[in-house]
Symmetry: D2
Subunit: 140 residues, 4 copies
């Protein structure tokens, strides 16, 4: 199974008043890691949009928080495909801080294949066969 | 059942390249609406922290996305308690755009009562009885 | 001289570990208040872009910080035109907290008129006469 | 003269509807690069705060924008001290995209030495001699 890893450092601006990561920041990283995962299997989401008017939009996202992230910790985010359907792909993102290896966050993004040729009205469509084949291979 | 409403306008900086709201922004609003909900029932989270060393930290969050939010739409966010346990409270946040009344997002925050008197090691504790009573009344 | 006022509450997610507003948040509000100012004089930046392929892009921004913003303070942001040239408009944004009336931040955005008909290469152009006339009137 | 370099990739969530970086994101990176610069000369801002109740707060920030940042560009941010006074230090942050070497942004942060022992009322103080000596050496 294809896994993509990203290393990120917790910065001052990621923290709240308790000195721990403000949780919407995790979703920003998860979204970025989703794009980088697609990139790592040869699917650039910007080019898919521009060249084929296809986008993988969000249906549902979620996170479980195990331990709080703290200032200047290094975090490893590992992304893989957790489920693949006709129209949707479920990405799983797991975050560990690298010093102790503690689990911080498990996050999920359920993305649906959208035809965005009409910018005012996106329409869910089956994932095109060539793209589905790439995702299947990455999910094995 | 106590419900708190917040009206918010989608701004340019909330949008992504597709011209729709970038989903981590919804979680920023949900977090803000969580704080405003606590405020509305007489529980100020900053004072709880400072005066009683109690915080309602996140265990789990999730969102379902029904329609994308767009530039300068007015959004109404309605927050209420969906479940209350010994240590946790589940907040539900529903977002509609106000012009057509369309449902955009349903979000959940499961918050756990934490003793934060040791800033390096938060500890889950039962919600103190006086605070639990306030939450019970709001949940009815 | 036309002034536009926006009221905003400082939320938990705007704060850093010191319990004061993390300064990039001020720029997010300033950008939003810039858009709302244009709206208030009948210039919707999204429509200008879509219908006339004109955008007011940023050349320079700056902020002076006088006092820190804090949790759940109400902030009044007043926006007006500080200077108008052939191609550029300088917006001034002043932030006071409303309880004591203390000055928190003075910010500036120098925006230049761009022809964005080629999405890969924006080009600075003189502000079209009808739009310049609206800005002149607002600046008086 | 000490220079610190950080490499960062422009992510989807950094972009606005025009497909270019939303400018408050540059300030988030600049703040992070300020912290990393201090780190690189042996001054950890979190420890300074916790151990000596000293913080380098913002008096003024500014950015000039030369070219827009775009999706998945790699950006090199170079930070150095541009001026050093009794109470203040001016950091300069220059951003280039690495593929063509084009200049994107020049940013400045004027930071003042604050005694934050009273969390409700920060007070500007001269930079302590040992810290001033470290900054002088880095500025040479």
């Amino acid at each position: 199974m294809k896994k993509n890893e990203v290393i990120r450092k917790v910065m001052w601006g990621d923290l709240d008043s308790l000195g721990i990561v403000f949780y919407p920041r995790y979703y920003e990283w998860i979204d970025a890691c989703g794009h980088l995962f697609f990139d790592s299997i040869g699917l650039n989401l910007k080019r898919l949009w521009e060249e084929r008017k296809i986008e993988f939009g969000l249906v549902e996202t979620s996170c479980h928080y195990f331990r709080p992230g703290r200032y200047h910790q290094e975090i490893r985010i590992t992304t893989n495909i957790d489920a693949l359907e006709e129209k949707t792909v479920l990405l799983k993102h797991v975050m560990h801080e690298t010093a102790q290896g503690s689990l911080l966050v498990k996050g999920f993004e359920k993305r649906i294949c959208l035809d965005v040729s009409d910018p005012e009205e996106f329409r869910a469509v089956p994932i095109p066969p060539d793209i589905h084949a790439i995702l299947e291979k990455a999910a094995e």
